[in-house]
């Protein structure tokens, strides 16, 4: 006890703070400038193998038990969404499309994973509306989504 006391009094340990604070501020500024707010991105995972040659036209042999849901989108000249059609029914909005798809698929997850949806849209339609359509399909867990070949 005595020893320690004399030791501390005879030479006071002074830590030089200045270089440490300099470095710390450098680090702080580096990390601040590299800071980037990353928005969370979600995704729709779609498996789309290349269509085999000659299988484009459905024949009586390869028609599956479940008919495809075909969603036709039309666009105004500026690329805005002008109309949605499922089969012969006109939809007013993407919400109504989601509702219709829900009626078709119901609550059956098996049916939802088996059913195949095809999206047919003109080339100049804005991509966001196509994603909106996929979004509506994803809500009822339709997993098989096909696009029409470009230019058709």
């Amino acid at each position: 006890m005595k020893f320690r006391k004399t030791g501390s009094s005879e030479s006071k340990v002074s830590l030089e703070m200045t270089p440490m604070i300099d470095v710390v501020f450098q680090l702080l500024i580096f990390f601040m400038f590299t800071f980037k707010i990353v928005t969370v991105e979600g995704e729709f995972a779609i498996t789309m193998p290349a269509a085999e040659q000659g299988s484009a036209a459905p024949t009586s042999e390869n028609i599956t038990a479940l008919p495809d849901i075909q969603v036709r989108l039309s666009a105004s000249p500026t690329g805005e969404l002008a109309g949605i059609q499922v089969g012969d029914n006109q939809m007013q909005s993407l919400e109504q499309l989601a509702q219709t798809l829900k009626e078709i698929v119901g609550d059956d997850p098996q049916l939802a994973s088996d059913v195949e949806m095809q999206i047919v849209a003109p080339d100049h339609l804005k991509y966001g509306f196509v994603v909106g359509t996929i979004n509506a399909a994803a809500k009822v867990r339709i997993q098989k989504i096909k696009f029409n070949p470009p230019g058709s």
Partner: protein, 158 residues
């Protein structure tokens, strides 16, 4: 002058550094942990479409290739190049063919049969306003070069 000197000698101004250093270390720790280098391939010029059921999957894609598409339908390639898939499909095809070749070699090395489909995931980050035809074209080119897995990126909110 005299006043100041007497003042400093009588009461030595000691700045307590501890709280400041504590706080600074906190800040450094925060910025360090939020720093991520993984998003270098994401292009900030692309404004993704909104979709509330686009869920971020927890697993990262298998050896992904990112394709960023601007609002006018141009695909940004590595090296600052950009190409229009409608007008200049061959450039994109050439890039993807190289990637497909590489993926085949990698799969063979790993002992996976590449004929069943390449394991590469094509992550498409297309702008909200990009023309649908250009996206389709890119997908078609990718399909023709042997890719089958696609991820369409979207955001939940802006």
């Amino acid at each position: 002058m005299k006043l100041r000197k007497s003042h400093s000698t009588s009461e030595d101004a000691v700045l307590d550094m501890t709280p400041m250093i504590d706080m600074t270390f906190q800040l450094i720790a925060f910025f360090m942990f939020t720093l991520n280098f993984s998003n270098d391939l994401l292009d900030e010029r692309v404004r993704l479409p909104l979709a509330d059921s686009a869920t971020p999957t927890t697993q990262s894609p298998q050896s992904p290739i990112y394709i960023n598409m601007s609002r006018d339908g141009m695909v940004y390639l590595l090296g600052g190049e950009s190409a229009d898939p409608q007008a200049d499909a061959s450039t994109i095809r050439r890039h993807l063919a190289v990637e497909a070749q590489l993926a085949k070699v990698n799969m063979k090395v790993a002992g996976v049969d590449p004929t069943a489909g390449l394991w590469t995931t094509i992550v498409i980050r297309a702008d909200d306003n990009a023309p649908y035809g250009s996206v389709q074209k890119v997908i078609q080119i990718a399909q023709q070069t042997g890719f089958t897995k696609f991820w369409l990126r979207a955001t939940k909110s802006q």
